[in-house]
Amino acid sequence: MVEVKTGDFVLPGDNLATVEEFFPGEGVYEEGGGIYSSSVGMVLIDVRTKRISVFPKPKTPAVLKQGDVIIGRVEDVREQSLNVSLGVLRGREDRELPAPKVGTLHVSRAHTAYVRELDRLFRPGDIIRAKVFGAQKEQVQLSTASKELGVLVALCSRCRSVLDKEGSKLRCPNCGSLETRKTTDDYRQGVL
């Protein structure tokens, strides 16, 4: 058998090792006592943890993990949480997210300070930037407790026109209504 070493270029189906030698890591699969590559990429062997993985060369599907930053839209604001439909993963705007594209943001992770009413921070239709807090469960847990996270674009709850920033509040240029949001520090700058 040919010895596979770190940095080798492998393709799906290439035999890398036997299960006795290594633990299967990312980009590999185990079948019939052997470890095989499931991706096009480079072999990575961690000698210390005895783990063999394949680092993929092509652009892989966008998969959410803790710490990722996403752009989404607020769908529903409730007392304790809000539902967010996930748009794109920052840095991976080229690839659609796999389903289910929904996340939830709990009131405890909405702001660094205490939040009495969640609807003073978010309203349905707002475009938000949030950090992924946990992605193991079906519903992705989000967080906006940071100054660069929060509402990117907000709509007036009365007339649905885009709100302008006015001090720490938001003013509707159409109907003059004054609203509050947990905005990002770059509200309406057009930066994802």
Partner: protein
């Protein structure tokens, strides 16, 4: 097109090949800019593109499966791909080929990784010259790997058949039309696992065994070219960096 007087002359075929020879073929990985993964395949006069998108959210939503992704294949022939204009849109034949393409690819996919999602595979035939489904499967397989979707292995495909009592590999249009048998096969060459086997016509038992062996040899050749295509794309890129 009139029937040629003979399909085999002195053990050679009309295009000069021996019975056990493939047509010249070409495989390119990543031929389309906007697809998540793509490939272009030429097998003789067949010219086929495959594009892969996803895994992404399924629309309509109720077609999604709660525990795994759906592989959705669409085989389509361009109206100008054949001598007589093909009426655009799906027909009985293309719906069937879409189904068998999907079934040929499913065994190498890890669909359980992406529940509620769909992986779309589009196979577009630009020029047809018999054996487009095999060319389509070859292209789709490379396109899936190019999209970075985890796979167990690549799938390779070739047709074998019988013309004038000779078992031949990789039929072209005249042989397909006037020959006795056409048998497209897709397989995972390394495991010798067959994922597609269709047959139009008849073989004796011995002929069938020989044909299967011939197809296996053809698939191995194509498999090597598919690997080469992926290698070229992804080791070239390393040097650019």
């Amino acid at each position: 097109m009139d029937k040629p007087e003979k399909l085999m002359i002195d053990g050679k075929r009309l295009d000069g090949r021996s019975p056990e020879e493939l047509r010249p073929f070409k495989i390119v990985a990543g031929a389309l800019e906007r697809a998540d993964g793509s490939a272009y395949v030429e097998m003789g006069n067949n010219k086929v593109f495959a594009a892969v998108y996803g895994p992404r959210e399924m629309h309509p939503r109720h077609h999604a499966l709660p525990d795994q992704a759906v592989l959705r294949c669409r085989y389509n022939m361009a109206p100008f791909s054949v001598d007589d204009r093909k009426k655009p849109g799906p027909n009985r034949r293309s719906i069937e080929i879409s189904k068998v393409t999907r079934e040929a690819l499913e065994p190498v996919m890890f669909l359980e990784l992406y529940p509620r999602s769909v992986i779309d595979v589009f196979v577009e035939v630009l020029q047809a010259d018999a054996g487009t489904r095999t060319a389509g499967i070859n292209a789709a397989s490379v396109a899936l790997a190019d999209a970075g979707i985890p796979m167990k292995d690549l799938v390779s495909s070739v047709a074998v058949g019988k013309v004038e009592e000779t078992v031949v590999m990789d039929l072209f249009k005249e042989e397909d039309q006037w020959g006795t048998t056409d048998m497209p096969i897709a397989m995972i060459p390394r495991k010798k696992a067959i994922t597609l086997l269709q047959m139009d016509g008849h073989f004796t038992e011995e002929e069938f065994k020989y044909a299967l062996d011939l197809a296996s040899r053809g698939c191995t050749q194509i498999y090597e070219a598919q690997r080469q295509a992926l290698k070229e794309k992804y080791t070239m890129r390393k040097e650019e960096e």
